[in-house]
Amino acid sequence: MPKTIAEINEKIKEGKAVVFTAEEIIEVVKEKGVKKAAQEVDVVTTGTFGTMCSSGAYFNIGHSKPRIKLGGGRVYFNDVLVYTGLGAVDLFLGANALPDDDPRNRVHPGEFNYGGGHVIEELVAGKDIRLVATAYGTDCYPRKRLETWINIKDMNQATLFNIRNAYQNYNVAVNLSEKTLYTYMGILKPRLGNANYSSAGQLSPLFNDPYYKTIGIGTRIFLGGGTGFIAWQGTQHNPDVPRTDKGVPKMGAATLATIGDLKQMSPRWLIGTSVLGYGCSLTVGVGVPIPILSEEILEYTTVTDADILASVIDYSDTFPNLKPDILGEVSYAELKSGKIKVKGKEVPTASLSSYPRAVEIATILKDWIKSGKFTLTEPVEPLPGVESGVTIKSLEERPIEY
C-alpha cells in the first residue's frame, strides 16, 4: 500500500522511521527485493558536496544612527564587492565576487585566493567582517560613509540563497589542445592528460528522483550543515534531455534553487573555494530526503554509478565555443575506477566533488530523520518536468546599431 508523507512524518516523530542512505539502499533492495523494501523503508537520504558557483547570501545588517542608504551605494565586506541594488541596508553577496584589487587573470592563471565564497565561510564561522561603504546621502538617510566591523549574529537576516545548486549530472571535462587549461572543471592537462568530473553519482539528490516525483518547491533539505528549503527550479533547469532506459539524464538537466538561514549553518559545509585561473566560489553541502511513497520511487533510489552516464566534453574548443560535439559517454563507475578511455587513449580521472563528504551528508540527514528532529515536507508545487517546456537556451545576440 502506498504511503503518504504525513504517515512517514508520524513514524519520524515516534522515532520509528526506517531510513537508509542512497548508497545503502542499493544493497537493501538487492537483499529484500523492491516489494518488501518499499513496505519497510520510509526515507532514502541523498547528498552532494561540490563547488556550486551560483551561490550567495543576502543580509539585512540593521540601520546605523544616523541612517545610511547603502542601496545604490558601494559596499565591501573584507574588500569584496557586495551588491547594493536593493533597499537601504539589504545587501547581496555572490560567491564569485572579488576584491577590486584582485589581479584576476592578469597574470594567468590567477590564484583567486579570496572572494565572496570565502566571506560567506568566515561569516558562518562567526568571524567579524570589515564593512566599508559609501553612499550618496538623502534627506532621510543623510550619512555618506560607514566603516565598521559586523558579525552574522548581529544581523537581522543572513540568508543563504543559491540560485543554482545540485546539478542533475554534469560534463566530464578533457583537453584536446596542446596547452594546459585552467577551467572551472580544474586543471586540464594537454592532449587528453586527464579527465575531471563533478557529481556524487549514485548519492546525488536528483539522480535518485530523476523525474522529480517527490523533490519539489518547499522540500526541506540539508543545506550548508543546517536545514533549508528548495525555493524554486535552479537557473538553467533543463529537464528535457536524453535519458537512459531507467530515466537517468545523460547530461546536465535539472537544478535546484535553495534557501536557508545562514545563521544555523556551519563552515564545514560552506567552504570558500579558489579555482585556479577561473575565480572564487563556494563549495556547498546539499542533502535531500526522498520519501519512499511507492515501489516506483524506491526503484529510482537504487540507481548505481554504473547506471549513470556522463558526456565527455573538450574544454579547449567545444565548451568555450558552445559547440554541440561530445567525445563519448562514460559511466560514473568507470570514472571512479580512476581511468576512462577517450578516443582510444586511457585517461586518468579525478573528481571535483567530494564523495566522502556526500556520504557524510546523507548519513547526517539520515540521523536527523531517525532521531525525529527532521520531518519531511510535502512540496507545494513540483519542479518543472520533462513535459513542462522549460529548457536552457543560448543567447541569440542581436547587434545594436548606432
Binding site: 558536496f49 561540490g50 563547488t51 592563471p109 590564484e111 585566493n113 580544474g186 586543471i187 592537462k189 592528460g193 586527464n194 579527465a195 575531471n196 567552504i271 570558500g272 573555494t273 579558489s274 579555482v275 585556479l276 566560489s281 563549495t283 571512479k336 580512476g338 586518468p348 580521472t349 579525478a350 573528481s351 571535483l352 566533488s353 567530494s354 564523495y355 566522502p356 563528504r357 556520504v359
Partner: protein, 136 residues
C-alpha cells in the same frame, strides 16, 4: 649500504656562488637529482635534492654541507595537508606529477603519500579549499 633521500638545502648568501653540489659528487661519490632550485630576492638559495649513495659517504657528505653552513631539512615535512580543510574532492589527484595522491577505492578518500612528494608545489594552487601547504 646504499641510501636515497630527499632533502631540502638552504644556502646562505655567501654560499650561493660556490660549487657545493659538485663536491658531493667528486669527494663523496653521491648521485643527485635536482627536484627544485631557486634563489630568493635576499639571495638565499633553496635546493630540493634527491641524494643517493653509500650510507657512510652520504653521512660524510651531509656533514660537509652542515660544516659549510648549509641548512638541511628532510623533504617529507615540507608539503603538508591541512586535514581540517581538505574535503577529499580529488582535484589534486591527476595534477600531481609523481602520483603522491591516491583515492582509496573503498572510502573514496584522497590519501597523501608525502614520501612520493617532490615539493613541486603544483597541488598548492590546484587545491580548491587551499588545504595543501608548503613549508620551506
Amino acid at each position: 649500504m646504499a641510501v636515497s633521500k630527499r632533502i631540502v638545502l638552504r644556502f646562505p648568501r655567501r654560499l650561493v656562488e660556490r660549487p657545493i653540489i659538485y663536491r658531493l659528487v667528486k669527494d663523496y661519490d653521491l648521485e643527485f637529482n635536482i627536484l627544485k632550485a631557486s634563489i630568493t630576492p635576499e639571495e638565499e638559495g633553496l635546493l630540493v635534492l634527491e641524494l643517493k649513495g653509500d650510507q657512510k659517504e652520504y653521512d660524510k657528505g651531509i656533514n660537509f654541507l652542515v660544516k659549510a653552513g648549509v641548512k638541511i631539512q628532510s623533504l617529507s615535512q615540507d608539503v603538508t595537508r591541512n586535514e581540517e580543510r581538505c574535503t577529499h574532492c580529488g582535484a589534486c589527484v591527476t595534477v600531481c606529477p609523481t602520483g603522491a595522491f591516491r583515492v582509496d577505492p573503498k572510502t573514496r578518500k584522497v590519501l597523501f603519500d608525502n614520501k612520493k612528494c617532490i615539493a613541486c608545489g603544483l597541488c598548492i594552487s590546484a587545491c580548491p579549499p587551499r588545504a595543501m601547504e608548503v613549508h620551506f
